[in-house]
Assembly symmetry: C2
Homo-oligomer: 209 residues x 2
């Protein structure tokens, strides 16, 4: 509160929060435009209105910044998922997850694109974002597995399935659809896919044919 007038007069904590956010926003824009390897730390800092060195200074490294972005995006997706799935279990929960994902991609396509770009990098043997991707997938598979096991316990899901294998295949399906959608957008119509995928799930997993 020392300088009234021109300067906004922020506390130091507010300043870092502001510049962090500005750089994350800039990084997202550049990620969508030029991809991970085409995005430079200098460009991020400068587009955010700061110097070329700030991004490294704050996030330690390029991988550190990308990890922060990946974490934020994953968090937003999990919120959408939790709202849609709620307390559902079994095939209902999986169908809700499909709807949630279609909704997420429609409402926040940039988030979906960014997650896909960052997680694709994780395929590289030395990728530093590998851990985040692996943890995310592990978590998702565990959730789906729990839905299936509860569904079996409730008698809604066939008892002769391998819950883990089915969960992995379900997550793999969503991964693959996103991958193809990002690569060839006109190929994948999420709405057309939704009903077909849900029908397939029910036919395959429901105990009540």
């Amino acid at each position: 509160m020392s300088k009234p007038g021109s300067a906004p007069s922020l506390t130091q904590a507010e300043r870092t929060a502001l510049s962090d956010r500005a750089m994350i926003d800039a990084a997202c824009t550049l990620l969508l435009e030029k991809g991970a390897s085409g995005t430079t730390l200098a460009a991020i800092g400068e587009r955010a209105g700061y110097s070329r060195g700030l991004a490294t200074y704050r996030f330690g490294s390029k991988a550190g910044l990308f990890a922060a972005i990946g974490k934020a995006v994953s968090k937003r997706w999990l919120e959408v998922l939790n709202v849609e799935v709620g307390v559902k279990t079994g095939v209902d929960a999986m169908c809700a997850a499909i709807d949630a994902y279609a909704r997420f991609v429609k409402a926040s396509p940039d988030d979906a694109r960014i997650q896909q770009v960052l997680f694709s990098e994780a395929s590289s043997p030395t990728s530093e974002s590998k851990e985040l991707a692996v943890d995310t997938y592990r978590h998702q598979v565990r959730d789906v597995m729990a839905w299936l096991e509860q569904g079996i316990a409730d008698g809604d899901v066939r008892a002769d399935i391998d819950a883990h294998a089915e969960a992995v295949q379900f997550i793999a399906f969503l991964c693959g659809v996103t991958h193809l959608w990002l690569l060839v957008p006109d190929f994948v119509d999420f709405d057309a896919m939704r009903e077909s995928a849900k029908q397939r799930l029910r036919r395959h997993l429901s105990s009540t044919q």
Copy 2:
């Protein structure tokens, strides 16, 4: 045939073929070890027994070399696929494709890994290998679609499906499974997945329940 003894005395064409192969082999080894971004052109040339500059000289650029590798791997996969599918159509052809893929991954895991690493890079907006990946996927979807349409014509496949959407989902499923397998190998058991996936296909697509 001028220098008997020490030098192997090869024609120029033989020499380039030899060095090209040596560099592609070296690049594959390094790709599996360190990923695409961790692999340097200098390391490729030197591991192949040549200078740091030869890889650039021959393939024009890093992307050019990777494209050559991607093309070679895709070609080998398509050969395996064609042998397994043969003249099958409809759901039978799709089941054969699943078997072929499981066989390919088991017989040539390195090929599968390399293809996955290279195609993952294609997710990047500025990727130069994007075109190859898109073409490959387009080709595969077209094939699956043709199988489905023939199956519908023959009365083996339900006539009320969207062949294109189903084909995209089938390819997406295979992409996703590979992606997860590369990222978390102990997660994905191709053999456990095979039967389940084939059963799901039949239940979903066959006209004869």
